[in-house]
């Protein structure tokens, strides 16, 4: 058995996912062995249905693999109970989804501070960190807006702020730019890239966008649930 090294934030071993839709088994992932090290900025590419979302769900513990093991920051996900997993996600993983990331009844500030509230971070500190984070994503002055009063790109920036504010080890993003025009998408990626360089937080995101390849420093391509290519552009 492979031993996770200290620097390896995400390690998968033989991860396989079989969906049984209408009785017909679908092999969404087949025997994925992958190691992602701390501070990497990794893009998951691949055609539709190649298993990107499934893979992200499994490495975040949102979904369980049919077979195989996942280590996250040295811990085996399948060994954790439901509540442990909730707490683990809260403290270690930031999420950015394709769309509808935000809780509509909460303001921008409340959305961003939500996780810190779950962590019982004191109010003054929460406010300070939210303010700094909103500034970092260029949304100063938007704290009291409702999500519905923001553009799609602004909403995704709030989602980034929410994912980053609690300083998790890993940020997972499933097609974060899919609902944005290419210019806004590029801006968002540039922002993620610079946050990655500044803070060293590990980013893993899936995308269809060829432009994203430019910014990614590691590019993994999936095909039919298997790793097709895995290239690191330059070592960071």
């Amino acid at each position: 058995m492979k031993q996770a090294k200290k620097n390896d934030v995400i390690v998968t071993q033989g991860v396989t996912k079989v969906y049984a839709a209408d009785g017909i088994p679908v092999n969404a992932l087949a025997e994925i062995d992958l190691t992602i090290r701390s501070g990497e900025f990794t893009a998951l590419m691949g055609p539709s249905g190649s298993g990107k979302t499934t893979f992200l769900n499994i490495i975040s513990g949102l979904d369980a693999p049919t077979k195989g093991k996942v280590w996250l920051s040295g811990r085996v996900l399948s060994d954790m109970s439901g509540n442990e997993l909730s707490d683990f996600r809260r403290d270690n993983i930031g999420f950015i989804f394709q769309a509808y990331n935000l809780i509509p009844v909460l303001t921008v500030e409340e959305n961003v501070e939500y996780i810190m509230l779950l962590q019982r971070v004191p109010k003054a500190e929460r406010h300070e960190r939210v303010t700094a984070m909103l500034e970092a994503v260029g949304l100063q002055g938007f704290a009291d807006r409702n999500p519905t009063q923001l553009s799609g790109g602004q909403q995704q920036r709030v989602a980034i702020a929410r994912a980053m504010v609690s300083e998790p080890a890993i940020i997972l993003a499933d097609e974060p730019t899919a609902n944005l025009d290419s210019k806004t998408g590029a801006e968002l990626l540039a922002m993620m890239n610079s946050l990655n360089l500044e803070t060293g937080v590990t980013f893993v995101f899936s995308t269809h966008d060829p432009m994203v390849m430019e910014s990614a420093r590691r590019l993994i391509t999936l095909r039919d649930g298997q790793i097709d290519t895995d290239e690191t552009k330059y070592s960071g």
């Binding site: 979302t53 769900n57 975040s60 949102l62 979904d63 439901g82 509540n83 909730s86 707490d87 996600r89 809260r90 403290d91 999420f95 989804f97 769309a99 509808y100 990331n101 935000l102 809780i103 509509p104 009844v105 909460l106 409340e110 939500y114 996780i115 509230l117 779950l118 929410r162 499933d174």
Partner: protein, 404 residues
């Protein structure tokens, strides 16, 4: 935070909230009026039944109530009466003597129940004077006047001024008989009793039955019927006499009381109907809102919200709507019961309950008519809310994210 999100969700989905609340408000108000009205009606029936007839509390010689007998008497009744009168809450008391016999007017005779009353006290306690619908009430001591029930007058074809002969047995074993003049005809509201009862002056009755200063029953009324149990206890303690038995009206009129309790079970049916209204309203709307917000719960869970916290969030929303609805329902319920307590509802035909005639029924504003519906609404809303809450708590974020 849970509270904040819950509150805002409630205001976000206004239409749904209003629908849910409406079901609860309607349920609450119906239940409140139902209880207020039935309590009011039963309260009126009890008040009339007790005040005009059996009184609120009775004192007998021990064992009399179970097996009445001419010989089970209270001898120093004035002393007992004086003690009773000193107890706070007691309004008035009156002594009674009972005997059975044969009554004849002219050719006709029938069995009669003889009741000897202290006219002044009986009037004060049970409004004896108001029940005499023809003629006058009995004269003072040893008048040899007799007042007979309406039905009895009919049976005997008796009219005012007729002579009536009573035959009975004295407490000393002698045959007793005497002649009295009918001075009044009485209607008590209980037709069955009016067909056999005749009333004598206490002294006349004691003389006929050879009881010499002794009586069978002391009837007393209190100012607040709700205090009957307390006052019963107080009298028992004050008299401190094991040969005397103090009984509240519930014991005196056992079958009447039981029938009334049984009728009150009707409340339960009303409560089930209300539970159903609330349950269907809540289940429908809350379930819909949970299904609609599957993605939202998915996001909340993905970022680390525990299932129990989601569960609490949904129940919290239901609880907030319930409490709000209960407040509105309470206002409506009190208003409706208040109006019904003033104007009442007049039935097209009068009806008789326990020998008491009724036509207009009034509601009552009381705590029961608020507390019971409040518990009912809250309980059924929370129970029904459990289902959508569990559903929301169980949402799988991975699946929820795929539903667009």
């Amino acid at each position: 935070m849970v509270l904040k999100i819950a509150f805002r969700n409630i205001f976000r989905q206004k239409r749904r909230t209003i629908l849910t609340a409406l079901a609860m408000i309607v349920g609450f108000t119906l239940s409140s009026v139902f209880i207020g009205w039935s309590d009011g009606a039963y309260g009126d029936i009890i008040a009339m039944f007790t005040r005009n007839r059996i009184g609120h509390i009775q004192v007998h010689s021990d064992g009399y109530l179970d097996k009445p007998s001419l010989y089970k008497t209270i001898s120093d009744y004035s002393a007992v009466g004086e003690v009773i009168q000193t107890i706070p809450g007691v309004e008035a008391w009156t002594p009674r003597v009972f005997g059975a016999g044969l009554g004849s007017v002219g050719e006709k005779s029938t069995t009669v129940q003889i009741i000897g009353v202290d006219v002044a006290r009986e009037t004060e306690t049970t409004q004896f004077d108001k029940k005499v619908i023809e003629g006058r009430i009995l004269g003072d001591t040893f008048s040899h006047d007799i007042v007979i029930g309406k039905g009895l007058a009919k049976t005997l074809s008796a009219t005012l001024g007729s002579e009536m002969v009573l035959f009975s047995q004295g407490a000393d074993g002698s045959i007793a008989n005497d002649v009295y003049t009918i001075v009044g005809i009485l209607e008590s509201g209980d037709d069955a009793s009016d067909r056999v009862t005749c009333y004598l002056n206490l002294e006349d009755a004691q003389e006929l039955l050879v009881l010499e200063g002794r009586i069978h029953e002391i009837v007393l009324t209190v100012s607040k019927i709700s205090q009957v149990p307390k006052i019963t206890k107080a009298i028992e303690n004050r008299l401190n006499d094991s040969t005397l038995h103090v009984a509240p009206w519930q014991e005196v009129a056992k079958s009447f009381y039981r029938a009334m309790q049984a009728d009150k079970q009707g409340d339960a049916i009303g409560r089930i109907v209300i539970m159903l209204i609330v349950a269907i309203g809540v289940l429908n709307t809350v379930l819909m809102s949970v299904l609609e917000r599957t993605r939202e719960y998915g996001v909340l869970k993905a970022v680390g919200t525990k299932p129990t916290q989601i569960f609490r969030l949904v129940l919290c929303e239901v609880a907030i709507i319930s409490v709000g609805s209960i407040c509105v329902g309470a206002l409506l319920g009190v208003l409706a019961n208040y109006l019904l307590s003033i104007y009442g509802i007049t039935l097209p035909e009068e009806f008789t309950y326990g020998g008491v005639k009724f036509q207009t029924m009034y509601a009552e504003v009381n705590a029961r008519s608020l507390i019971i519906p409040a518990i009912t609404v809250l309980f059924s809303a929370m129970v029904v809310g459990l289902f959508p809450a569990i559903k929301a708590a169980r949402i799988m974020p991975a699946k929820a994210m795929r539903t667009h």
